[in-house]
């Protein structure tokens, strides 16, 4: 049967958000508690807008950029950063056998086309024929490819040459957790040596606000950090990719570990009252067997949606000595890539041997200046799905 699980290292991270791109920009932004919120563009909704990117740096061909909608550009850009950070960018031999799992939603709609159709369809003599006629003439033929979930992975293959394998998981936050879980499980079991895993999200989209607020999940009006809200999410534009590598593979090519990805678990709690704290407690027990070690922190993927965030908060109260940070207060909530982003930020913090400051006056987060040796990253999906990862310093 299977041998003992193999150790997996994080050997590269690529992150973009409202704080900018890369490790230093994020560390600096977190250290300064820099909250960038646009309250105008989609008022009464808020968004953490993506910092401007010089796309040419990671997507050199303008033709490739034109074939993508923003969500794909964000992801392809972040993937390039991760590959460069791991020292595998442009290494055709490694990229040809690199496995890829992308967590993705769908792409942007052409909202002008939608609005024109909704305005004029009811007045048409034959509304169905009118819809056909407008879509046939108004949809750009390549828009479909910019909307298809698996075409972020497709673009990463084309732009960066990652071709060992390519899988796209869909399903909001849980897809982001399971992408990392499966990538790790394959490395641990010897099914994979080197993997690119992550996703992207464009939060500056009315079509997404429509989806999430039909469930009553969006914050409207004044901004508050996530633990201080009664309820509500603020969308963020994020790209986050990790390069995961079997330890032996990394050592053989002299790649340095940013951190060890020691475990990833996911659950489907079903969301009966109290199910979320129970699921989180089960995962914590497996990843961090008691007693709770010193030098551990939680980086939370709390979304602001209820009851999810309230139940996560109830569980966190059972760990009074563990410092907590919810990154959506600064970055916004990005669904599919949030988990990979938080794992990347955990690796950053472990590399700097300290936790970044709190952004909360509600009592969940408190300042922590002590040593940092391991981080548990949580993900409690706004509707479904729970996950947890343990990231540890490689000493």
């Amino acid at each position: 049967m299977a041998d003992a699980p193999r150790e997996a290292w994080i050997t590269g991270i690529g992150i973009v958000s409202c704080l900018g791109e890369g490790a230093d920009a994020h560390w600096q932004g977190l250290a300064e508690r820099r909250i960038k919120v646009d309250a105008e563009t989609f008022a009464p909704y808020l968004v953490h807008p993506l910092a401007p990117l010089d796309l040419d740096k990671q997507i050199p061909k303008k033709g490739d950029q034109r074939q993508m909608e923003p969500w794909q550009r964000i992801g392809t850009y972040a993937a390039g950063l991760a590959l460069a950070d791991a020292g595998v960018k442009g290494n055709a031999e490694l990229l040809a056998r690199m496995d890829m799992i992308v967590a993705a939603g769908g792409g942007e709609r052409d909202v002008a086309v939608d609005a024109a159709i909704l305005t004029n369809k009811p007045k048409a003599a034959n509304p169905e024929a009118f819809l056909n006629e407008r879509l046939m003439s108004d949809l750009r033929p390549t828009l479909f490819l910019a909307q298809l979930s698996n075409l972020l992975a497709g673009n990463i293959s084309i732009v960066h040459g990652v071709t060992g394998s390519s899988r796209t998981f869909m399903g909001e936050e849980a897809a982001g957790v399971d992408a990392v879980r499966i990538a790790l499980a394959r490395i641990a079991a010897g099914q994979s040596e080197l993997a690119l895993v992550g996703g992207s999200h464009n939060g500056e989209r009315e079509d997404l606000l429509l989806l999430y607020d039909s469930g009553g999940h969006m914050l409207r009006g004044a901004f508050q950090p996530v633990w201080e809200r009664a309820k509500g999410m603020v969308l963020g534009s994020l790209g986050a990719f990790l390069v995961l590598e079997a330890r032996g593979h990394a050592e053989a090519r002299n790649a340095k570990p940013l951190a060890r990805l020691s475990g990833v678990l996911s659950e489907r709690s079903g969301r009966a009252a109290g199910a979320i704290p129970a699921a989180l407690a089960r995962m914590w027990q497996r990843l961090v067997p008691p007693p709770v070690p010193a030098g551990i922190a939680v980086i939370s993927g709390a979304t602001g949606a209820q009851p999810a965030t309230g139940e996560e908060r109830a569980w966190l109260k059972t760990l009074p000595d563990v410092p907590v940070r919810a990154t959506s207060s600064i970055l916004g909530h990005g669904f599919e890539p949030q988990f990979a982003m938080n794992i990347a930020l955990a690796a950053l913090a472990l590399g700097r041997e300290k936790l970044f400051p709190a952004v909360d006056s509600s009592g969940v987060e408190r300042e922590y200046e002590g040593p940092l040796e391991r981080v548990a990253v949580t993900a409690v999906g706004h509707w479904r799905g729970e996950g947890m990862a343990l990231i540890e310093a490689v000493t």
Binding site: G106, E128, L131, N132, M136, L145, S165, S214
Partner: protein, 424 residues
Amino acid sequence: MASGKNGQPVVVVTGRGIITSLGAGKADNWAKLTAGESGIHRITRFASEGLKTTIAGSVDFVPVEPFCSTELGERMATMVAEEAIEEARIGSKGDFPGPLFLAVAPVEIEWPHRDVLAAGSGANDAVGYDDLLRASASGRFHAIHERCLFASVAEHLAERFGTKGSPISVSTACASGASAIQLGVEAIRRGEAEAALCIGTDGSVNAECLIRFSLLSALSTANDPPQAAAKPFSKNRDGFVMAEGAAALVLESYDSAVARGAKILGVLAGCGEMADSFHRTRSSPDGKAIIGCIRDAITDAGLTPDDIDYINPHGTGTPENDKMEYLGVSSVFGERAKSIPISSNKSMIGHTLSAAGTVETVFTLLTLEHQRLPPTINYKVPDPAIPLDVVPNVARDAKVRHALSNSFGFGGQNVSLVMSREPA
């Protein structure tokens, strides 16, 4: 035999379920498929005025009113999962002892949802997203949120069938159904699970989805008669025919199946995968990724190309796919390529998109079980550039021990599966 390559568990199939435009269930589908019947018909679900393509293999006998592609996909997935679990006699009702891997079309807010929100906005004249947002914020449309989340189909199936752990929804475009099976095989080989429920489903025949493929010039426009439109490997092939369907497999470790006395219906012997970095919709002209993917699947099964007796191709009937698939097959199988039977189910059921890999895996397993090859229908004008034995127009008996099934998708996705009749 408890273990295969590297001491990993051998993965077998103990349950199968299927729906296509030919009907519901294995018996009906197999009878019609081997009789060379087509499920392609004129679209009646929505108006086809102004469309270049007016035919599809839609599944109209599963009623969804008002129509919603995701809803149809979920209903078909439920039906095929019930059929597969019943055949496997595994677990107990609502308690399937393993994870769920679901191939599903990307979920989105559809036009009927938008129409409801527009009406609910009370806008008098011009309707914009501001108006839709005002309606959605009213709290009266919670059902749209749940229905249009990507996770919703898998969540509902996991709840109903009691699968274990977080359900995974996978998309590799038109290879999704094969990817879902591959994920199940890998989970069992890792020893994470003794069984897995792998489902592919697609109910995408709505106006916008059809128009998207039409704008990419991917669809056949040979509307009359509809049954003759899908012409894989023919010289006059002019595109694929959109279709709907679903299929489910119960995968199980050989040891688990034997231990509980389950009937083994076939072996999922090998999986191969390779991404193509050439173009968003076209394969690299040298066929590298297709060739690599087929070779990897055969190697993963512990076989050589000489062992493959039958190929269930991707075989969409687009000029590009069939040409490139021939290049891949002829490169891997050499001189033998001309004599290995290769027949496209899509000539009869059309292209079931996200479900195709799973649907065609079930048909390949039925081919192994019955030792009978379904035909490629509408094969009237052979393409001299594709000299293959496509089992033209009429089914025939054959000895098949090992079969290959190919699935390719936009975005450079290539997955091949190798199935065997019995464990080695």
